[in-house]
Structure formats: structure tokens, C-alpha cells
């Protein structure tokens, strides 16, 4: 964090400055006094009332640059705990840059580093380290789950649960110490009882926290919906259908377009990257092969996977490649074409694993069970093509309802997301790491308890996992976590 050493006044645009907008907020922090900024404003700054909006012109050498609203937060009553001025300026990018330049060139302001406002809030003790972690999550949230957990952390609610764990650990530690230093006072059997009780109490709190760290969190943090299928299967149709109705205001992260195309869609308060992998196909081309590798990488980490198969144009070799992937949803397309059912019955799906199966027509935009009248379906072909399911003998569910495709997919998606986040998983990597470490140590410890007859060693073992606990509740040197936190921040926060 060596670039954060000075305490020069800093300035940055705190609203996203990637396109022209109506309003942009420029934040200035750390200047000595408001009056020192008088040359830049037409309003008499001596008359500024703290925490009130004032309309003023920004002036440079008697030339009016912009007409803005300003709010002054004095030292001690501001986000950073320094003098802060917030200017709501017209959000033209050029305008913003001119105003920033004015203060940097003539006002001795320095352009803020990413996260520097928050860093100053931390340094000046307006925020705790754990609150910064929460803020980081809140500001970078991709989902309502992250938003609410970010707020929980910011308000210290998650921390309160960690403190509960820490307190139960202190009881355990005390029980060990009592058996060493005070066993004469309370007696041997009672000190054993005390130890067992406190250890069990500790384990039960730990277990409930630990269960919240299980599962693939990265797929929840930036969930991806991946469409897989051969050309002409209907991937693009589904892709366009989903994008058309759900385009997010967040723009897509740049990817290697050669491998896949992606868009961000918003479903039920969560942003998903919708990805159309084109990479999985037979090829001897080396570049293509890299593409295939990458496609599988995406596939493995994806939150929701849809496989689309066109029964009229399916290459068995293609399906064979997908043997190790479990899909959430298998759509067999072109159900409106004659011979559909007989084509389906020719398909060998024995290598495919999926949770749900349906037939669909992208021409009509509707989706439904694999067989329209129940005469032919996976049931009748039991064994021969029945797609595998992870759960072994039980095959995939077959969609019963008939309806439009897009709302159904959305519904399935948010149902899975709600299910996966039902136990309010702990999303912060540092916390997850600490909890898992404590859990591991506690497991090892409970195995050893009956072996160790030396209480001094037992107590030394307890102390060792106390270090991880301290880390979890934040009794850890701040610089150990600062770097990882601030690497996520962007300028102006």
C-alpha cells in the first residue's frame, strides 16, 4: 500500500464515468479549508452551510465552466473524516475531465487512487476493516445476495456471528486453562465435563458457519448461464430471446469473441453472464483446440448449463465429448418439425447427464414435455437412451407444462439461485478460508483429544487454532488484508 502514504487532497469522479450522463458526482477530500477553494466558485464559500446543497458556478479565470450543486461535509462529519466537498456536475465526460483537471492543475489536488476515499475512511477510523470488506462486496455486487451480505457485513451482523464463535472458543480455552491451573479448586471430573461441554458448544457454532462455506461460491458470485450445442441447434435463438427481454444495464465483460459470445442479463435481481460457447466442436486446428479447452473451463465453473440438441443434425461424436458434464437442462429443439419424435428416438443420449429434459420449438417459442401425447417419451425408451443422471438410477425430470421458453428458463434459473443461496452462504473468500481452516483444525483436534494425555500440548493445539479465529474476527494485522481488499476498488470509492 505504499502509494497511500501521503495525505494530499484528492479528487475523483465518484459516479461511473464511461458514458455521458445527466449528472456526475465529483468528490474532493482532504483540503485544508473550504475557503481555500474560493477561487474556483462563484458562491461565497464563507456562507456555505455544512451538509446543505448550494447552487454555484465553477469558475476558472473568470470563465464559467459549469453550473453545479455542491455539498460540504466538514472534517469529522464526512465519509473520509476529512473535509469533503461533493459536486454534482453535468455528466458530460469532457466536462468532468475539465473540472477534474482544474482542481488538479490549479488546486494542488491529486487524482485519487482506486479505493482511496474508503482507505482514508479506514485510516481515519470511520470504517472498520470488516466494514470495508462489506462495502467492497456491496459496491461490487452481482446479485441481491451479495448486496444483502455486503450490507450485513457493513452493519456488522456477520461479524457478530463470528464473535459468537470467538466467545465460545474463549470458553473452551478457559476450560483447558481451568483444568491446568484450577483443577484442585473445581475437581477433575467437573473440569472434564466443562471441557466437553464447551468443546461441543464451540463445534456446533462452527459447524453452522462451516455449512455456509460449502458449495461453489464462485458460481454464485458471478453466475454464468452457459448454452451448449452444435450449430443450428438453437443456441442463438435462445440467446437472443433471453437477451431481448432481460438485458442488464451492466455491459458485458470483454471476452475472447473467437471462443464465445456473451451478454449480461438480469434475472430476479441477479446479474448472469449469458454465454454461448461455440468452441466445442471437432477440430484438428490448434487454435480451435485451445477454444475447446476454454469452453470446457467455462462449462465447469458455470452456474447453470443448458444443452440444446437438434435431433435432425446431431453428431454422436459431439455428444460423446460431453460425457463428463452434468447439465441442468437438456432441450431437444425443432419439436415443431414432422418426424421429430422418431428422430428423438434415434438419438443416443446415454452419455448425457441432465437434471431436466424438455422439447422445444424456437420457431414457435414454446417448450414442453418431450412427448406431446405421452405415447412416446423417455419412459417408453427406458434404458436404451434414457439420459444419465448424477443421482444414479433415477432419471431426469421431464418437463410437464407447455409454455413460452423465455419465462420458463428464467424461472428455472432463479429457482436454482434461490436454492443455492438458501443457507446464506458466506461469500467473502477471506472469511471462507478462515472458517475452513478453523473447521479443519477443529476436526484434527477432536481426533486427537482422546490420544493426547498431555494437557500442555492439548492447550498448545487449542492456541494454534485460536490464531485462525483471531484472523476471522479481524484480530489480525490490517495490512494482511488491505491489499486484497483494495485491489477490488475503483477510483472514486
Amino acid at each position: 500500500m505504499n502509494f497511500y502514504t501521503d495525505d494530499l487532497p484528492i479528487i475523483a469522479c465518484s459516479t461511473g464515468n464511461v458514458s455521458n450522463t445527466a449528472i456526475a458526482v465529483i468528490r474532493l477530500s482532504g483540503f485544508k479549508s473550504l475557503l481555500s477553494l474560493q477561487p474556483f466558485f462563484s458562491f461565497n464559500l464563507a456562507k456555505v452551510k455544512k451538509r446543505f446543497s448550494h447552487l454555484t458556478n465553477i469558475v476558472s479565470e473568470e470563465r464559467i465552466l459549469d453550473n453545479v450543486l455542491m455539498v460540504f461535509f466538514p472534517k469529522g462529519e464526512s465519509y473520509t473524516d476529512e473535509n469533503v466537498l461533493e459536486l454534482s456536475v453535468h455528466g458530460n465526460l469532457l466536462n468532468i475531465q475539465i473540472i477534474l483537471d482544474l482542481f488538479i492543475l490549479k488546486g494542488h489536488f491529486r487524482s485519487a487512487h482506486p479505493g482511496e476515499f474508503t482507505y482514508r475512511a479506514l485510516k481515519n477510523k470511520k470504517l472498520s476493516l470488516s466494514q470495508v470488506e462489506g462495502l467492497d462486496m456491496l459496491l461490487n455486487a452481482n446479485s441481491s445476495l451479495m448486496l444483502s451480505q455486503g450490507l450485513d457485513i457493513l452493519q456488522g451482523e456477520l461479524h457478530a456471528q463470528y464473535l459468537r464463535l470467538y466467545n465460545s472458543f474463549l470458553k473452551l480455552k478457559a476450560a483447558v486453562e481451568i483444568s491446568i491451573d484450577f483443577s484442585e479448586d473445581i475437581g477433575e471430573s467437573e473440569s472434564k465435563l466443562l471441557f466437553n461441554d464447551s468443546f461441543n458448544g464451540f463445534l456446533s457454532i462452527l459447524d453452522s458457519l462451516h455449512s455456509r462455506t460449502q458449495g461453489n461460491i464462485s458460481s454464485l458470485l458471478s453466475p454464468e448461464l452457459v448454452l451448449v450445442g452444435q450449430t443450428n441447434a438453437g443456441k442463438s435463438s435462445l440467446f437472443n430471446l433471453l437477451v431481448k427481454h432481460n438485458r442488464s444495464i451492466v455491459s458485458s465483460v470483454a471476452g475472447t469473441t473467437r471462443d464465445y459470445i456473451s451478454e449480461v442479463i438480469q434475472v430476479d435481481g441477479t446479474n448472469y453472464s449469458l454465454i454461448d460457447t461455440a468452441g466445442i466442436r471437432e477440430s484438428s486446428d490448434e487454435i480451435e483446440n485451445i477454444g475447446i479447452e476454454r469452453a470446457f473451463e467455462i462449462l465447469n465453473r458455470a452456474f447453470y448449463k443448458i444443452l440444446i440438441i437438434n435431433p435432425f443434425e446431431t453428431n454422436p461424436d459431439y455428444l460423446a465429448k460431453l460425457v463428463d458434464v452434468h447439465f441442468d437442462f437438456l432441450i431437444i429443439s425443432h419439436s415443431d418439425r414432422p418426424d421429430f419424435l422418431s428422430k428423438v428416438s434415434d438419438l443416443d443420449l446415454s452419455n448425457i447427464s441432465t437434471s431436466l429434459i424438455a422439447s422445444a420449438s424456437f420457431a414457435t417459442g414454446s417448450i414442453g414435455p418431450l412427448s406431446n401425447n405421452g405415447s412416446i417419451g423417455p419412459g417408453s425408451k427406458s434404458g436404451s437412451i434414457g439420459p444419465r443422471s448424477n443421482s444414479g438410477s433415477i432419471g431426469p425430470e421431464t418437463l410437464i407444462e407447455i409454455g413460452p421458453i423465455e419465462p420458463l428458463v428464467k424461472n428455472l434459473l432463479s429457482k436454482k439461485f434461490r436454492h443455492e443461496s438458501a443457507n446464506s452462504p458466506i461469500l467473502l473468500e477471506r472469511h471462507r478460508h478462515c472458517i475452513n481452516n478453523i473447521h479443519l483444525k477443529a476436526q484434527l483436534f477432536s481426533l486427537k483429544i482422546n490420544e493426547i494425555d498431555d494437557v500442555a500440548i492439548l492447550s498448545s493445539e487449542v492456541n494454534i487454532f485460536s490464531n485462525y479465529l483471531s484472523e476471522l474476527v479481524g484480530i489480525v494485522s490490517a495490512d494482511d488484508v488491505l491489499n486484497s481488499i483494495f485491489s477490488n476498488f475503483c477510483i472514486g470509492k
Partner: protein, 617 residues
């Protein structure tokens, strides 16, 4: 009569006696001024020396050249190893002593020192000038000294309570020392006085021992003094007995709550949480009626019995009725009633680690006047004050014991870096390095400090030889290989040493669990006909056992230590909105300068630690 001394010690308890003893070894002219009412190094409370953590202190004192171990061995009527089944690192020696014989020996040992003058008078005033201190006794005689060590225990404005009765004094039958008031006007004391208590003494002929569990002396517990043989005893050994309180006992105490000076406001001093009176136990733990009572003889020829666990300041009639509800004590006669004493305590944050009062050079404090409880804690401070006053007088470099290799170091650092709000008792949990700071390796830990004193006595010769032997045996253990052959395999099997599939070093054998390393090493040295003393074998074997664990603990705690060394500004902390009022009070009282010191404050909340840690940038 001589009135000028190099070092003058006020108070002849455990701290004062220890200070006088060691200061005399430096060849200085030393005077010890003590109350005419009581013996030197008397034991006004429990008749025992040592205990968990405290046994380590006694051995540390002994290795520094102190007196306590010598006296305890001479007066010991029961030797026990506490925590015997719980591992070497937490084992501690405790010796029940004959109080009279203990004090007689203190008089004997101190009395024969030619350069020590013992003065039995009460002190009237103490004044300090540029050149030193001037002390006036009640008979208006003046004494002068460059260095002065104050070890007045509970005698500073001491006040005794037994029920409604109140008397001034430091203990039963002794006047308080008011005489130091002139000096004490300049000394900072803790805002709250401290309180301690003692149980009633019972007539040993009125107790039914047959219904109690006897606890016998352990012939395998080692004597304290390293120049003594390990297991020979000076005196006949006596048993102690264990009995328990019951619901009748506790209901009598609970129904007399308003007559208890601790709870009706008569006593304002703060008592030790770790050594609670029976009233504390009764009122605080209302669901618990059964508490241990150890019935301990106070001496071979003394009629008094010390019932350990029922310290009380309740009125005499209440004491008599509750004592008689206890099994075996139905007919017990009380010879001396229990009482509590309140006394002034020096603010030890004003002391340097030498025990010198920083703003008045040449003035040292040690013992219970510094807010500690226990004879061993007092003696540990006494010897360090005596050493440093002597070194300072001789213009030599001070001696500071590190908290990482001694309990005395732990105690003194705790005392001087923190303000205490209750009596300080040493226990092993206070050390971060408990696996290393053991009784068995005391000489290895303390030799370097003793060497710095450059006193060249018989003790030094013994210690040097001991460590040479330890080093030799360590080398043998490390370099000797045991080869995996038919004969050795069979030997391993016969002795339950485990498999011997590959060649192993002797050290690896000692590290194997399931066997006591001490037993194995003893057996093997005997088998190979190598002769080492059992103390040397013990030191080496236990060190091997803990080696790996100590390394691991050091590595794991490094991160925390790194944080612990960070400086903090306590003045800013107490203005923070994010710290609880209670924690702020403690911070304000103790003024921590580093994170480690903050962590060591008792009662500090983890939320506070987390907040502070997160904000140290």
C-alpha cells in the same frame, strides 16, 4: 551502632527476606527493618510453598540464588507434584510447610549473614533527599541508605475485618505500618484498595479425619533447592485431608449475606477472583453447594489446621456455625477466626522492570504492596528488587528476566506494563510459552541470568556442571543410532517401544508417544552403563519430547506476534465510538502502548481487539 547502609529493606516478609538475602551476597551492607510483632518470612495465610505456576517461580528463585527453596525444603511436611497426570509442562511442585520451622530457618539463614543487620522496629517516617533516603523509627533513631526497598505487604494502611469488627493492622496481632505515609504522599497508589482474606484456623484435635480423603506426601516429588538431594526430607511427612462443603454450609452463608463485610459495603477493596472467599463462592455461584475444602496442618507441633477453601470475613458466630456443617468438622473448634484485610497498593505501572519507582530513583517496591497475592510472587519480586538495587548500587548493568523464559519475567512485565484492578496471581495461562517455561529445565532457562550476577558460589559451579552434563547427554541422544536388527527389534517389542523397521536415532525413540521419555532414557542410560544424574536425564528427555511442539507453536503464533508488536495510541482509542464503555475504562486505566499489551488487559472484548487490529495501519 551503625546507621548507614548501602541498601535498606522495609518489611521482613517473603519479598523483604529474599531481597535481603540476595543483596547480602553482593557483599553490600544491608539492613532489614521488620515489625517486632512477627517473624521473618512468616506465612500468615496458607501453609504451603509452590503450586501450579508458583512451583516454577520457586525453582527460578532457587536458580538465581534465592532463599525460598532452601527454606521450603527444610520446613516441608508434605511434597506433592500437581497436575502429575497432565504432562510435564504443567507439572508443579507444592510443599506443605511447618510455618514455625519455616520462619525459624529464615531467622537462622538471614541471621548468620555478617553484612546484614536486622532491625526489629516500626518505621515512623521515610524521607528522600538527593543523596538517598532517611528513615526514622518509632524510637526516633535515624537510618540512611542510598537504596531502599519497600516490601510492606498488606501493612500499608491495613484494615482487618471480621464481621462487624474492624481493626487496623496488617494481619492478626500486628500493627499496621502508618509510618511510611510521609514517603507515600509522593507515591501513586491504585484508585481502589485491594482486599485479601484467610480462613479460620481449627484445633487439630477436634477434627474427625476418618471421614475425609487423605492425601499423602509423594516420595518422588523433587526438593526445591538444587543443591539438596532430590528426594531426602528433613522432617516427618504428614497427610492433608479433603472434605467438601454442602447445602447446609452454603445456606448458612447465604442467609447471612447482609452481615458479610464484602457484600454489605463495609469492605470496599477488590478481592482476587482467583482465590475467592467462601462468601464469594456462595453468592456468585448460587447453584453450587459443593466446594473442596483441604484440611492442612500448619506444623508438626502447632495445634492449628488451615481449612483451605473457606476464606471468610463473616462474623465469628457465622463462621462457627458454617464450619460445623462440614463433614468431619462437626465438632471443630476455631482457634483463630477468619478475617479479611484491606490495604493500599502501589500503582505498578510507575515501576521499571527493575522494580524501581521511576520518578524516585533508588526506591524499589516488591511483594504484596505491588498488588500480587502469594508468597512465591512476593519472593520473586523481592529477589529481583534485591538484585537490581545491588547492581545499581555497584553501577552495574540491570538484570531483566524475559517473559519468554521465566514466570518471574511474565509476572514483572505484567505488573509494570499494566495497571491492575484486582490482586495478581500467577498461573501458567499467563505465559505464552508454557511448553518451555517448565520446572524441569529451570537451570537451563535461568543459568544465563545467574551468570550475570557473577557471584561465583557453589551454586554456580553446580549449575555449570549440570548444564555440561545436559549438553553431553543431548549430544549422545542425538547422535546415537539404534540399528534395526533382530536383537534390537526383540528388545523394542519386549519394552513396548513400538516397531523398529528402519534404523532410528535415540532421539526419535524418545519422541514416540505411549512411553514416558524420562522412563525410557533412564532405562537406556542404565542399560548402556552411562551414568547421569536423574535430574539431568529428566531435563534432556522432557526437552526432546516438547521440542517439536514448541517449534510449531512459535511458527503459528508469529503472525499474532507481528500484530502484537504494533504500536497504538490509547488516547485515541478511548475517544472511539466503536469501543464499549467498559473496555474504554480498562484501556484508560492500563494505557497500553502495543497491541500485545492491549490483548493482555483482562476483560478486554474480542470486538474491541478486532476493531483496534483492523485500524492499526
Amino acid at each position: 551502632m551503625k546507621n548507614n547502609f548501602d541498601i535498606l529493606i522495609i518489611g521482613g516478609g517473603h519479598a523483604g527476606s529474599e531481597a535481603a538475602w540476595i543483596a547480602s551476597q553482593f557483599g553490600l551492607s544491608v539492613a532489614l527493618i521488620s515489625s517486632p510483632d512477627s517473624q521473618l518470612a512468616s506465612a500468615p495465610c496458607n501453609p504451603a510453598i509452590g503450586g501450579v505456576g508458583k512451583g516454577q517461580v520457586v525453582r527460578e528463585i532457587d536458580a538465581l540464588g534465592g532463599l525460598m527453596g532452601i527454606l521450603a525444603d527444610r520446613a516441608g511436611i508434605q511434597f506433592r507434584t500437581l497436575n502429575e497426570s497432565k504432562g510435564f509442562a504443567v507439572q508443579s511442585t507444592r510443599v506443605q510447610i511447618d510455618k514455625d520451622i519455616y520462619a525459624e530457618n529464615a531467622e537462622l539463614f538471614l541471621g548468620k549473614l555478617e553484612n546484614l543487620t536486622i532491625i526489629r522496629k516500626m518505621v515512623e517516617t521515610v524521607d528522600h533527599h538527593k543523596s538517598g533516603f532517611e528513615l526514622t523509627t518509632v524510637d526516633n533513631v535515624k537510618y540512611f541508605s542510598k537504596k531502599i526497598i519497600v516490601t510492606t505487604g498488606t501493612f500499608l494502611n491495613g484494615k482487618l475485618h471480621t464481621g462487624e469488627e474492624q481493626n487496623s493492622g496488617g494481619r492478626v496481632g500486628c500493627a499496621k505500618s502508618a509510618g511510611l505515609n510521609s514517603l507515600f504522599r509522593e507515591i501513586r497508589t491504585t484508585p481502589n484498595r485491594f482486599k485479601t482474606g484467610t480462613p479460620p484456623r481449627l484445633d487439630k484435635n477436634t477434627i474427625n479425619y476418618s471421614v475425609m480423603e487423605p492425601q499423602l506426601s509423594d516420595p518422588l516429588t523433587r526438593n526445591f533447592h538444587s543443591l539438596n538431594t532430590s528426594f531426602d526430607r528433613e522432617l516427618i511427612q504428614l497427610p492433608c485431608y479433603l472434605t467438601r462443603t454442602n447445602s447446609d454450609t452454603l445456606s448458612i452463608i447465604r442467609s447471612n449475606k447482609e452481615r458479610s463485610p464484602i457484600f454489605n459495603g463495609q469492605i470496599k477493596g477488590v478481592g482476587p477472583r482467583y482465590c475467592p472467599s467462601i462468601e464469594d463462592k456462595a453468592y456468585r455461584y448460587t447453584d453450587k453447594d459443593v466446594h473442596h475444602v483441604f484440611v492442612e496442618p500448619e506444623g508438626l507441633n502447632l495445634d492449628t489446621i488451615y481449612p483451605n477453601g473457606v476464606s471468610t470475613s463473616l462474623p465469628k458466630d457465622v463462621q462457627e456455625s458454617f464450619i460445623r456443617t462440614i463433614k468431619g468438622l462437626e465438632n471443630a473448634k476455631i482457634l483463630i477466626h477468619g478475617y479479611a484485610v484491606e490495604y493500599d497498593v502501589v500503582d505498578t505501572s510507575q515501576l521499571a522492570r527493575t522494580m524501581e519507582y521511576v520518578s524516585i530513583p533508588g526506591l524499589y517496591f516488591a511483594g504484596q504492596v505491588c498488588g500480587t497475592s502469594g508468597y512465591e510472587e512476593a519472593a520473586g519480586q523481592g529477589i529481583m528488587a534485591g538484585i537490581n538495587a545491588s547492581l545499581s548500587f555497584l553501577n552495574r548493568k540491570e538484570l531483566i528476566l524475559d517473559r519468554n523464559d521465566s514466570y518471574i519475567g511474565v509476572m514483572i512485565e505484567d505488573l509494570v506494563t499494566n495497571k491492575r484492578d484486582e490482586p495478581y496471581r500467577l498461573f501458567t495461562a499467563r505465559s505464552e510459552n508454557r511448553l518451555y517455561v517448565r520446572e524441569d529445565n529451570t537451570i537451563s532457562r535461568i543459568r544465563k541470568y545467574r551468570r550475570e550476577l557473577a557471584l561465583f558460589s557453589k551454586l554456580d559451579l553446580y549449575q555449570e556442571n549440570f548444564l555440561e552434563e545436559v549438553e553431553l547427554l543431548e549430544k549422545l541422544v542425538e547422535s546415537t543410532m539404534i540399528y534395526s536388527n533382530v536383537e534390537s527389534k526383540k528388545y523394542f517389542q519386549d519394552n513396548n517401544y513400538g516397531p523398529l523397521d528402519i534404523n532410528i536415532s535415540f532421539k526419535e525413540l524418545l519422541k514416540r508417544p505411549n512411553n514416558s521419555p524420562v522412563d525410557v532414557l533412564e532405562r537406556e542410560t542404565l542399560r548402556f552403563g552411562i551414568s547421569f544424574s536423574s535430574d539431568v536425564i529428566r531435563t534432556v528427555a522432557i526437552a526432546v519430547k516438547y521440542e517439536g511442539y514448541i517449534d510449531r507453536a512459535v511458527i503459528e503464533s508469529e503472525k499474532i506476534n507481528k500484530l502484537g508488536k504494533k504500536k497504538l495510541n490509547w488516547e485515541l482509542l478511548i475517544e472511539s465510538k466503536n469501543i464499549s464503555f467498559e473496555c474504554k475504562l480498562r484501556i484508560k486505566n492500563t494505557k497500553p502502548e502495543t497491541f500485545a499489551q492491549l490483548q493482555r488487559i483482562e476483560g478486554i472484548r474480542p470486538a474491541t481487539l478486532a476493531y483496534v487490529a483492523g485500524n492499526i495501519i
